[in-house]
């Protein structure tokens, strides 16, 4: 098989957050996280990325910054794919000024999540505050290496969605992406967190009604991944978007999980062995 142009590498399933809506498939299928491949395994996959002409890689997890050999992998990636675009998604809990500068030097773009403001602790399953996350975004912006911020809207943070948007914008988010909880991962066991389509439309209206924040933003309208063959028909009928465009999963993008298995998207199950 040949990798598509855009590939996400889930470097680890380990995470220091316990977000109750986390989409990661190993929360439903723990075997997909094991065994985690080592740096040598990722280097083999990166060689394949280079051979297949991949030009855009997102490094994520779990929490990618928990890997002690992260920069060994990133360094190898840059040598193997000198012209590719690299991004790293992190919960930012371990991100500091030194690391921001390190990513900037390596031209690795950053992205993070703002899970809530007053609800940040509940939405991350930690006792942390949103304050550090916003400060990290602000510092990155000051260092001219801004972070894209994504926000997942749940029943819990629904009431503060517009405030989350404003807080991210004022802190210097480079772009903001907003979407509802997707049914899958931990959210499959926490379906009470899902908002209705009407509530989602209300969130979009509230954000559109804000004064111009001069920040590019986008909305994601997906509530469910249609690729998943194991999704009960009743849930598909309830959450699937009508008249949706065909999903390009597996064509323009794909994912390699912590155990090296290839999947067509972050929500789907593995179909082929990723290791050549």
């Amino acid at each position: 098989m040949r990798y598509p142009r855009h590939v996400t590498l889930e470097l680890t399933a380990k995470c220091n957050f316990r977000c109750p809506y986390c989409y990661c498939v190993w929360h439903e299928y723990p075997a997909l996280a094991k065994p985690e491949i080592d740096a040598a395994g990722w280097k083999t996959i990166l060689d394949k990325c280079a051979a297949d002409g991949v030009d855009d890689i997102l490094f994520t997890g779990g929490e990618a910054l928990l890997r002690r050999d992260l920069f060994e992998i990133l360094g190898y990636a840059r040598r193997a794919l000198p012209k590719a675009k690299f991004s790293l998604f992190t919960n930012a809990s371990r991100l500091d000024e030194t690391l921001i500068k390190k990513f900037k030097r390596r031209k690795i773009h950053l992205a993070t999540s703002l899970q809530g403001l007053r609800t940040y602790g509940a939405m991350t399953g930690t006792r942390r505050s949103y304050k550090r996350l916003l400060a990290v975004v602000a510092r990155a912006s000051e260092l001219k290496w801004p972070i894209a911020v994504s926000m997942t809207i749940t029943k819990a943070n629904f009431g503060e969605a517009a405030d989350m948007f404003v807080a991210a914008a004022l802190s210097g988010a480079s772009t903001i992406q907003v979407g509802p909880v997707i049914l899958g991962g931990r959210a499959a066991a926490n379906q009470e967190l899902m908002i209705s389509r009407d509530e989602w439309e209300e969130v979009k209206q509230r954000i559109r009604a804000l004064p111009n924040a001069h920040v590019p933003y986008s909305f994601c309208d997906e509530f469910i991944c249609s690729c998943r063959a194991d999704t009960p028909k009743t849930l598909l009928e309830k959450w699937e978007e009508k008249n949706r465009k065909p999903c390009p999963a597996g064509k323009s993008f794909g994912v390699v999980g912590p155990n090296g298995l290839y999947r067509t998207c972050l929500h789907s199950l593995p179909t082929r062995a990723a290791l050549p």
Binding site: E97, K144, L170, S171, T175, S218
Partner: protein
């Protein structure tokens, strides 16, 4: 996380507004220009486990629709509007639109 004076002030304003139960929307009027120079056209298309249509951006005009463009050189983000006085006219230009001076 150590921030500049201005950055710290923005953060304090956010925290104070939240602590007093105020909606944050009104703060955008006063602070929008502070963050206007930070827009970098790098992709966030993969964030949140989602892959939106890369040509789609909610608040883009047609000429800005390729905000998720991933080809070519990675551009350096423009300096913030208040960073260097002599470069101010350039810094105020974000995505081809001139921001009003505050």
């Amino acid at each position: 996380m150590k921030l500049s004076k201005k950055g710290a002030a923005v953060q304090r304003t956010i925290h104070d507004a939240l602590a007093s139960g105020k909606a944050l929307g009104g703060l955008l009027v006063g602070f929008a220009a502070t963050v206007a120079g930070c827009g970098d056209r790098h992709s966030s298309a993969h964030t949140m486990g989602r892959f939106p249509d890369p040509s789609y951006q909610e608040n883009a005009k047609n000429e800005d629709a390729k905000v998720f463009e991933t080809e070519g050189e990675i551009p350096e983000p423009p300096p913030p509007p208040n960073a260097v006085n002599e470069d101010r006219s350039k810094a105020l230009s974000v995505k081809g639109r001139i921001q009003p001076k505050k």
